[in-house]
Symmetry: none
Subunit: 220 residues, 4 copies
């Protein structure tokens, strides 16, 4: 009992610190955040920070993992019912491109972090490679070198995402990119076009506050 209360409190404090870090990054960007800032927002003593994170960098990474985790969970929820490799890739790309624009948590965080290209919101890279390989093996895709193709696609997604965000490309570039990718995988343009136009499932990424609520609920 005492144990439970204790560990519950730990989770709470930790969540508060992560949340505070997140909020500050959204507000002020990566560079100008001190640990004091974080503990102030988290309503916690300065020294307390070090009971949870050995270094500031680790706190930032915790936030990133938090966001990425929620993104992947959502995407998997969408992919689950799908079977056809082409459809899976089409939907995944669409979702990735859309979220990279609209998930404010993620875009702002990444934008300000300066890590812009280290991490761009897209389907787990590894997963995409598996998707391609599966499609190739099943004869749905025509690719000689899945690894290279995989790299080419990743490159396109990242760059297009950035360019849209910067206003250099219109949002219509999102389905167009997906269509190009599908063609590059060997699908006839007709099919590519059809897959691209299929409506998106309405599943959304949970808000940050909900995530925190979840932590609390779980720890209760």
């Amino acid at each position: 009992m005492a144990n439970k209360n204790t560990s519950q409190k730990r989770e709470l404090t930790r969540a508060a610190l992560i949340s505070a870090t997140h909020e500050l990054v959204l507000r002020r960007g990566y560079e100008k955040i001190s640990i004091q800032d974080i503990t102030e927002v988290a309503q916690v003593g300065l020294g307390t920070f070090y009971n949870y994170f050995q270094t500031k960098q680790l706190a930032f990474e915790a936030v990133l993992e938090d966001i990425q985790g929620r993104f992947n969970d959502s995407l998997n929820l969408i992919r689950q019912p799908l079977k056809d490799p082409a459809t899976i890739i089409a939907v995944s790309l669409q979702y990735s491109l859309t979220q990279a624009q609209d998930n404010r948590d993620w875009t702002t965080f990444v934008e300000f972090t300066g890590l812009t290209d280290q991490r761009v919101l897209h389907q787990d890279a590894e997963q995409l490679l598996l998707d391609i390989q599966r499609g190739a093996k099943g004869g749905r895709f025509k690719v000689n070198d899945p690894t290279l193709t995989h790299s080419l696609i990743i490159g396109m997604i990242r760059h297009v995402s950035r360019e849209i965000r910067r206003g250099n490309l219109a949002r219509s570039a999102m389905p167009e990119t997906t269509r190009h990718v599908l063609r590059m995988l060997g699908l006839p343009d007709q099919v590519a076009k059809a897959l691209t136009q299929a409506p998106m499932s309405p599943v959304a990424v949970p808000r940050r506050t909900e995530a925190v609520a979840t932590i609390l609920a779980v720890s209760a």
Copy 2:
């Protein structure tokens, strides 16, 4: 006369500062460089730095421009005799991909600077767009939306460059990428393959020290 002497000295000091910055980044990475470090290496008074760069960031950018400038000069030298849009693009991509791996000045600098993906050594982005548009207008390429195609290509080059550097892709990915791009531009695979295999002109980017030497020679 006095003027000439003065501006000659200015160039010299500036070159020394840029060179020192460059060297330090190669040695220690971006974060850990103080302005004192730079002026020490440049054998120059601390205050002198501020006679040339208002901020450290501007010094870094000067180095980047320096390198990029020399890269572009070399590439233009190679492109000059070429007429066919497809050949021009093939050669440019090949050169860009190759240099991104082999131009140690550039790769290391960018690598350590942390800007890794903001700036990848490749053909002037604007120029590539023009190349595409010219090929499209002349009927050599089949592209609906040159701007999007341009973005997709840029994304591929950047990412592939990085992946090769990281060892995730073999060097053979370079010609393969070019081939994919040419196909994406609507060329038959045979042609794409042929253009990709053409031997590269042996023109090389001048070393940094030579560039400095040039300044001195000119000002003499």
Copy 3:
């Protein structure tokens, strides 16, 4: 308990910083004091300064307030038993003029600070205005415009204080000034003279070190 200990320590450090600032101004004047100097004298880490004062100027002002506070406390002690407006003003002026000469803390600090005339140790300006208004309302003083009269008096006190300090006027200028002021307030010269010659109460401003001692005593 912990709280009490903490805030006691805070007071102590703060007192040390103020005391150090004070001492340095007395020794070297305003311009030549760096924050490092202060923390060195205070036997405290450099960074500690910033836990107490956001800026050097604020530290100086804290010293001034400290001194002025003690001055006002003393003056109020003297004024307390008095009723007659004329007597109150006479005593207040006398005390102000005297202290401006003899309170070494104050004079030296102000002298070296270069603010010489911004702040001269004298009765709270607001209080003087009230004194005048009260005397005018009660019919003891004859003044048309209390605000102007107030300004004229303040100006005289400040300047006379300075001039005495500089040796341009004798100490006898102090009662003489008071006498002039009382006459300006409409009192007959005989009364003015009489009030001016009344002996001063012997209450003195506590020394700085005693003040610090008090803090410690109270917090014990």
Copy 4:
């Protein structure tokens, strides 16, 4: 001839430096002015400054002297035709108080310099003492201690000037102050009132640019 040209050029450069210093103080206040700023505005090489002023402080003082000199010249022009000591004092005070408000050169300079009270625009202090003594000797004034009276008056003028500038007193405080002073000198209120209301001579302080023009004209 060559000599004359040379020294003319010297005067010109010196005037330019003083003018630049003046202008900068008006614009940015005392603290934040570097010698580079001054030489830039003066359109002169940095090193040139040191051919004219050994130190920055000396340049500032040159400006002050310049302004004070012109002020005194104007005042003397007004005083010249007057004979009666009371009139002379009345006119001088009026002029001093007025200029302290309206001579933007002076007020701004002094305001920003932070020396506010070291130098307040008023009739040469020495001259005022002579005025008082002359009036006392001639029986026009009734003062026991001219030196003290002199100090009291100076104090009043300075403080009132400041208070008007700060908006704590109305402009009507100017003639009122003069009237109080005259009464303090022993004049009947009727006379004081009359003298205070006499119209001011229209002589004005020359503008700064004219002064510079004068230098040039003289040096021609």
